[in-house]
Symmetry: D2
Subunit: 366 residues, 4 copies
Amino acid sequence: MAGSSIGTIFRITTWGESHGKAIGVVIDGCPAGLSLSESDIQPYLDRRKPGQSKFSTPRKEDDEIEILSGVFEGKTTGTPISMLLYNTSQHSKDYSEIASYYRPGHADFTFDAKYGFRDYRGGGRSSGRETAARVAAGAVAIKILEQLGISVNAYTRSIGDICINPDNFNIEEINNNMLYMPDADAANEAGKLIETVSLDKDSIGGSIECVIHNVPIGIGDPVFEKLDANLAKAIMSIGAVKGVEIGDGIKVSTKKGSENNDAFCLDENKAVTKKTNHAGGILGGISDGSDIIVRAAFKATPSIFKEQDTVNKHGEEISIAIKGRHDPVIVPRAVVVVEAMTAITLVDALLLNMAANMDNIKKFYK
Amino acid sequence: MAGSSIGTIFRITTWGESHGKAIGVVIDGCPAGLSLSESDIQPYLDRRKPGQSKFSTPRKEDDEIEILSGVFEGKTTGTPISMLLYNTSQHSKDYSEIASYYRPGHADFTFDAKYGFRDYRGGGRSSGRETAARVAAGAVAIKILEQLGISVNAYTRSIGDICINPDNFNIEEINNNMLYMPDADAANEAGKLIETVSLDKDSIGGSIECVIHNVPIGIGDPVFEKLDANLAKAIMSIGAVKGVEIGDGIKVSTKKGSENNDAFCLDENKAVTKKTNHAGGILGGISDGSDIIVRAAFKATPSIFKEQDTVNKHGEEISIAIKGRHDPVIVPRAVVVVEAMTAITLVDALLLNMAANMDNIKKFYK
Amino acid sequence: MAGSSIGTIFRITTWGESHGKAIGVVIDGCPAGLSLSESDIQPYLDRRKPGQSKFSTPRKEDDEIEILSGVFEGKTTGTPISMLLYNTSQHSKDYSEIASYYRPGHADFTFDAKYGFRDYRGGGRSSGRETAARVAAGAVAIKILEQLGISVNAYTRSIGDICINPDNFNIEEINNNMLYMPDADAANEAGKLIETVSLDKDSIGGSIECVIHNVPIGIGDPVFEKLDANLAKAIMSIGAVKGVEIGDGIKVSTKKGSENNDAFCLDENKAVTKKTNHAGGILGGISDGSDIIVRAAFKATPSIFKEQDTVNKHGEEISIAIKGRHDPVIVPRAVVVVEAMTAITLVDALLLNMAANMDNIKKFYK
Amino acid sequence: MAGSSIGTIFRITTWGESHGKAIGVVIDGCPAGLSLSESDIQPYLDRRKPGQSKFSTPRKEDDEIEILSGVFEGKTTGTPISMLLYNTSQHSKDYSEIASYYRPGHADFTFDAKYGFRDYRGGGRSSGRETAARVAAGAVAIKILEQLGISVNAYTRSIGDICINPDNFNIEEINNNMLYMPDADAANEAGKLIETVSLDKDSIGGSIECVIHNVPIGIGDPVFEKLDANLAKAIMSIGAVKGVEIGDGIKVSTKKGSENNDAFCLDENKAVTKKTNHAGGILGGISDGSDIIVRAAFKATPSIFKEQDTVNKHGEEISIAIKGRHDPVIVPRAVVVVEAMTAITLVDALLLNMAANMDNIKKFYK
């Protein structure tokens, strides 16, 4: 079934395997008249690129994005924007062995069961490399949001047990450390943890938080197309995510109504606002004007060098140790992916909202 | 925008406001030949019904479901199944006051901002009553799953800080207590907690867990239509949910790869299975044959009798105490809603999976 | 599969069988703030109602539409509008015989083949009665169009060989004759033809034309969501339609470019317009500001009283003569259905167009 | 809005402009396990290629298709198949003049009105070149159909007033003449007509017929997703099409029920079949086992060398004569496009049909 598209008006379709010729994305429904060139997109891909630091896989790719359509004389035309990245640095032989068995924590087994066989090279379609295409589309979405004064900021919130300290929170710090943590001390500690884990041929999980600032009130739709429901889908669709939270998230289950309700009040301009933001900027599936806060829990990289038990295609129980190039932690490189999926979801909701009431429609077509 | 539908092949559309004439659901794409009558659906609605216990609102409704189409001589015909519940027990005057202000934690403010006005009676479209329509559709989905040998079981996992004890877990117990907890002791303690909270004019949150047993391997699609992504959307679309987890969920962020990976092994029939199930039955967005485990965190009922600060429509800061009939905890009545949304999501994925490979298609059309 | 919905933002879902309890429609995505009551819709249903004239089936139904949701204090709220019509005048026994065989020209055989059985009463889901639900939704769409100054007018263009004479065209005449023809003479002749055909226990085909006036320029999207492509789908989805034309339609196949091209020119206000309108108001799938012209060819009612050959469910060749109440011509009652489907398609395209370019989006969210 | 995708399970997304870097298509939802390589696709593109004959534009392109993803070891993997064609032969300067005015019969004016500007080179996104991407996707659909024993054959039915003679119909002849007509005499006459028209700096319209043989009974869904409704959309979405017919098409409007109804009978194997096929293989939107017959009316190429009146961007009425390379007739090159769109529509309907009834679902998952 057609599973590689997301969005209604602003709709992206990704394609490509880790070790195929290329990967790419088509954005259909991007509004016309947005200034756009490869240089708007490349910086986002660079943030996701492997080989950036000692904490990420040594596979180096140029990952140079190419725009093939939908842009004319520097502006989007309203027609599909097709972008691709050629795969230039595959070491396919690294993966020849894994063709024969199922790596624990990976989709090898389920792909084989569903499709009868799989492109086993580097994880094929279920490789993290697919997210580069999401990031390229996300860069376009972020550019649209910027035009509307909306900013999206994701960062690493925790690695293993090391969590950022709210008192140390410094948004400027995010790009100062290789882990994209807004807390220098936490980043330092987390770095040490990753080294320890790496030496032990193991990997470690973590979490990412994303904050969207200045969202207009009224974005999102009731019932099934709630903004938080679509964010949950978009974020959970990222490979290693096993939990998604909005605002106070899981913690709300232990709170009382009087603790969790955000009282409404008036700001200095007499506009309605909230005294607190436990809700994470969404009420009834619709943005309330406060910051939207989304969190994602990532599992540890399933590819570890430690010995593991598994089964091969001949139905034998075997013991394996995965080789190749693998990050000991997925989280830092996934920060920009979370940002991208959040922006893509929000842009679509913003465009859909324009037709929500007759007054606006009449004004538009008068 | 059209936000009240979910699903691709098995697609439901709910409609109706808390205090309108009726609420209902249309299921389009239900396979033909399923035995179906009102008596298959009513028991699920009864589980959600208010006035069942001292822990739920005293509003009593008969909530008698009526099937208006799509069933002929006791079997579904493949055409849309339209079902409705008339609203018979509304006390609209209870809500007349709230027309003038925004209840904290509710969608009053965001609906007004989006649409210019709202049906304020009982929360209108954003009322929990809308979930009765989901439950009716869910009952049909569950019946389809039963035909395929798949069972879905949701239960209350925690209320406030009171969580079920895995050592006491007893699935038979779920329907023995009014809180739908599979642990009699926890249910007892949680009951006391709710009473305390109620006396204090407050409310409390909790969490629900849902386990799907016997799902075929291979269900779900890569990338954006991952089974876990669609479950996340379906569950997050339930009013008070602020967090969704699959398998070990949030906890994976603190675990190592060697702890979190589930080793593959062979079962007594030499079929591939997993030694553990941290993944919650889904790998790469596709079911792996183990139990699928989903968890949802619910916030406390935002309607509390305690005094709260808010703003009215005239732009004045005021203090309010909500009146009317409100549950001190949403969770027990939401158990069947989680079950419904899980089943609806899974049925759709099962139907979509039938076209995944040419061998099956050729066999089908030979 | 879910086949009973159409539209992206303005999305309708119809349900119900000819002789079930009721039929109905849910409109999701109707903008908030539109004045709406049953009295806006009933006149459209009355135009489609049987028993209106000697040319239509004597089955009389009150067909009183009921709005169950989505309207509050006389205005749409932006949430789903559910409407239904109870089936009050079914004579199910008229149809008991047809359960056993396949009526030529009907869907009896194909429904049985697809679903294994069918609701045979009155054609079940494939009955023309389903179109009453479309008409109810269409009435809402037409009301939206009126707010934007757009009018939709359908009429009978031909019955058998009797076609309206362009020189006699009088739009006022449409509602003066029972055939909805804008040419009194043609209506008179066509009436005689129908009587002759009826006496011969036969039926006759015809065609309907629909003109949309004052459509803004720029509506519709390139490639697959062209306005004409969506009109073609919407119109071809009406039971007996076998051909759809835009502008000069089929005739263009015999014309030269120099004959068929519409030269651009300036109108009195120096706005761009066209000297002719062979294109029927659509260029490249996008409205060009001229009248949009759609035509549909309807086959004769397949239910005829004449003897016909067919096959029964026991695999025997038999000879039958259909009984019951049947129109000798479908066309007059289908006029309002064509109007409805055209309006529904256009409203959706108008709402989608609002997000087509950044300038408009920035203006909207400034 | 996202207008460049079509299909539900088998879903294609085209992208690219006539004179951009490349054009392409992503097929999502292609079943796994289909043998596929560039050599399966190239022959279809070659049939559409310009410069094939004296009747088509002298622009020569290699149009070599490249598969970038979704195929592994010669078989589709179930993941998106991305294909592209680089644009190698553009003469952009040919089009520099048309940037300043609106060509009659083209989408220049409507694109400008909708998006604020346009990629004017060679028609940009609304160029017929976009159909090459459809043909590539269609080749994959046709290959799937072949595996199921279904054949799709399109051919030129008429050019101007020259129509094939049913008595001369010879399917083998289709590929013997440059006009793809199954009647050598008609092809000969039509060739002369085109030459005359060309000499007169004009162009001419025509029609294409497509016959699908051996479609299983039961394909298509009632109401809005009728097989004929989706065919109508798919065919009408091809640039120059102004009319679509199924079976006897427009002619049914003048026929009686007794003439138009197809009597059911039994074939030599005692299976139900029809004595005639006025319906064109579809009853109630569902295939009935007879040949499916679709016809499309194409307007003449709007680009003619004759002088025409139009308006320029400065709001002046001007007179123009279009230069460059243009076919005097679109039809022959569009034959394979009609075949492609028909096949794409049918494959999607075949895949969706698999989930239509519980018996099949239970058999599948037993």
